[in-house]
Subunit: 315 residues, 4 copies
């Protein structure tokens, strides 16, 4: 049962106001920013990313969206073809047309991109009120609407064309899939980079950091959402933030409840976006690259909390 | 009222069978192809497209998706935020989460990409039966399903990274918007190209041909779907097909009922896809380019007839 | 734009707590009641209602539910037939089946019954917190859930089989439809009853009070929801409450913003339900009756705020 | 996978036309009838049903509708509360409102009433065409529409107020639940009636015949739709039809695939409706009655194939 419970006694007291708080205004992007890490994608960043391309070969890094795919909690995805064909024959050639109709938490199912309006924190404000605060200090009263977020909707995220660093943790550990409940350490990441012949200095601000846990192998089995994939610990989270990526991604979520520290620290506090349930099957070939052009642009769904998409790598 | 009416007497008789007919098997892509013009996007094509990039500046060529946007007929788009926040506070930091829930003909509203399963034709087959036939001869019995097309779903379309040729018809005519009901001629296109300092030989197979009618200026007014935008006549359609693009696009649909010749000839017969209701506002700046890197990848919505997306130009 | 704005300064201060407040616990039904006026429907009440039946003739008092019907604000109603038929031929007789798929604020469109969870009030509590309080003092924290109300869902409303008193205000005024923005007075009601040969003493606790404003004549034109129908003033509202009906109904809502006093006083404070947008066309015949068996049972939609239905009179 | 497959060779040949066929025009109700068995509900029938009422006690004979309830195949039921409250405080009393939003095959989930448009048969017509034919000979071309059936929508079913005969098969057999896959015989029914002190002559045309299989005990477990409940055999089906009820009901469907003879013969051929997944828990008390006032009125959902509802018995 999901319900809203206010318990004044256990809410930590801060001195935050609408204009200033523990993570706002955002030091990189300023008080009114709603675009977070996607601000890193300057023309220079784009050119630099394109310069990585050698062959022009495209690799899919996401899953298709379909009925029955694994989804957590009460989320659902339904698709219908209204009649068939939807539209009657028209004209001399008797042309017919089909529509589809989809009902879903469309930005929060399958390969899903968490936007700036997805994660908040219940906080006590200086004036004694309690409210939910989101990226860059945007508060509930400014955002809330039954028909789409008034602020921090995913339409504020700019296109992401950047260099991705693939950190192949599963390959580093020599397993198909990292063990369940495994807390990924910073040493794991550094060793994985080393195995790939890379250094931390290969990572530049505005890059995308992608983590292969091997969890994609379970898709589309229910284990994908019912199991407990490996996740990032506090040390790793701090390191991620220090690397200043525009976004992170993995074939799970990199996170674990009840603290959800990745969502809390990476997305909420820093506006670094998180692409979940990626698919690294295409990265299992022989001629592996670990730094490549990566592209993901969320749909401009006004007021949505996240977006589906088609993450691509180009070698 | 939309209903399915079979009238045997006015259905033209062909000698088509499941394996052979007026537009199938597809001469370029073969009998089993479901990917149409997206097959043009080879690594070489991608490299060539990237070589056009000089500054790395990104331009949006689509509209956001939102409640109340203009949609034809009975199509609809609804988005909700279930409660707010959707999920109760969790952990020490009392992290909360929002989902959105969307219900829509998601691939057929707003800036919409028509996939291979969208357009068919009611035909009399050699064996006397009447059925709907789609791209590359796929017939209703192989496709039909209440929960998503079994063949020719939009998930079959490969990512599109190519060179786009923008044919600015409105600028050529010296108007904000082409007149309603105006039939665009081949001469219009050639003259527009000339005005842009371009030749037909600048167009290569697998390119995207984008037509600016100036219709984007009406968005999001209802006129967008209730007016009668300029459209492509038969001569233009034949020329488009001869140019062998992977797809076409415009800020309307380039088509007109009841014949819907663009859908019928370009998409259905040739598997050249059509991106409708694009937005060329970003192309109105001074430093105009008319041949540029263009990227559009439909969502892999299994069994869908089309897809939303985020068409981008990079200069 | 609908957003949640807390403004501490203009919220009136009460001494209410979870267990006691201006309208709770409910004096008739007790502290834990979630069924409101439907509690009046005892076996005795049912027998008494049936005793009114003379001919067995049934009259429809609602509208059908259909695409395009007038709905306020952002509410919507969509219905689809997935393929046709939805299910393929089965068995020797090649039996086929159709489903429909509906997406709507199903309890808040068309002829709609407002349940106990529909109306609340933002209040300052004794402990200084501010929360939304509903019928019988149920508070937000006990009710709120993205997937259906945890308390006061419409499934708590018992079946309603009772005597209805039709108060034909339009006929009393000698008009087809009461004027827009007209405030209905208690004198209007008493005179209407008198015209009908009735007395206030004909009204018994647990009856349904139905008001004909003549607004049904506009259905399904948009004016139904865009116009300003006649509404009940404070005097009438107090009288309604004093009559102790189980519910009221009308061919509009009987209410007007921004105070929404009918919803506020009748439903919220007293648990007397409100059936809106009824249809009194069937009551326009010669052999009129004004006190008759009336039946309306909301669907047991767990966690819903209201319900569609099929209100019937039997003479 | 559900797909439409025409196989001319195994479709039996009839001499049927639009106006005449094996089950049309309907002998009781005429060629244009869309209301089927609900036509039995005359004023006389209603009066007779009311005369059965002795105590006025109401009994629920259906299940609530809720997320996670058992549903067959791909059907789904989702309910949301958009924000909470959906509407911001209004007026001096800061009145707030909640809506719900439901997406479902609303007439084909839970306690569901199959309307006249739900069941058809694929048939070869005299003119050689093949089409789906429904109750009273209505053909696909007259009904089909992506946005709701054009004929035989459930809105055509008149309110049902009648006498119900409860045939308690589980009690007769002395079990909680009839065995899975058990074919119910006519002898079973006759013996059950006898145990109840009833005769077939207690059944009058236009009654509702309700069958307790004890299957309600599994609700809401998935077994409800994944198990194989007892069903009516051919002999029973013929007897049901001979009794001329307005409808039948049970706590399962009384039917079994692939022949679906109940749907095929009872609903399709005779327009006798079928209420599935009823709940007979309230009928398990000591003071049992087996003939009682029964009321079920489908929602007037224009173009729907079925309807939810709130079936009630009154003793």
């Amino acid at each position: 049962m999901l319900f809203f419970a206010v318990s004044a006694s256990i809410v930590p007291v801060y001195s935050q106001t609408q204009s200033e708080g523990p993570w706002w205004p955002n030091k990189l992007w300023g008080a009114s920013d709603q675009s977070g890490g996607s601000n890193w994608i300057t023309p220079e960043k784009v050119l630099k990313a394109f310069s990585l391309v050698k062959t022009g070969k495209i690799f899919e890094l996401g899953h298709p969206y379909e009925r029955g795919m694994p989804m957590p909690g009460q989320r659902s995805y339904n698709i219908f073809i209204p009649s068939f064909p939807t539209y009657a024959p028209s004209g001399k050639d008797k042309v017919v047309f089909n529509d589809e109709y989809v009902t879903a938490e469309i930005g929060q199912v399958g390969t899903q991109f968490d936007g700036p309006g997805h994660v908040g924190r219940l906080m006590r404000m200086k004036d004694g009120t309690t409210t939910n605060v989101f990226y860059n200090g945007f508060t509930e009263d400014k955002m809330r609407d039954p028909y789409g977020l008034q602020k921090l909707g995913v339409e504020n995220v700019k296109p992401i064309i950047t260099a991705a660093i693939l950190i192949d943790l599963a390959a580093y550990k020599g397993v198909n899939t990292l063990p369940e409940n495994y807390e990924i350490t910073l040493a794991d990441v550094r060793n994985a980079l080393a195995r790939q012949g890379m250094k931390e200095s290969d990572i530049e601000p505005g890059d995308a950091l992608l983590f292969n846990l091997g969890w994609w192998r379970f898709w589309p089995d229910k284990k994908t959402v019912e199991g407990k994939p490996a996740y990032g610990g506090r040390e790793l989270i701090d390191w991620i933030i220090s690397m200043k990526p525009c976004m992170i991604g993995s074939d799970a979520s990199l996170d674990a409840g009840p603290e959800y520290m990745v969502h809390d620290k990476v997305i909420l506090e820093n506006g670094i976006f998180n692409l979940e349930f990626m698919n690294f099957e295409s990265m299992q070939s022989g001629n592996q690259q670990y730094k490549f052009l990566f592209m993901f642009s969320p749909l401009r769904l006004k007021g949505a909390t996240g977006s589906p998409g088609r993450p691509l790598a180009v070698f």
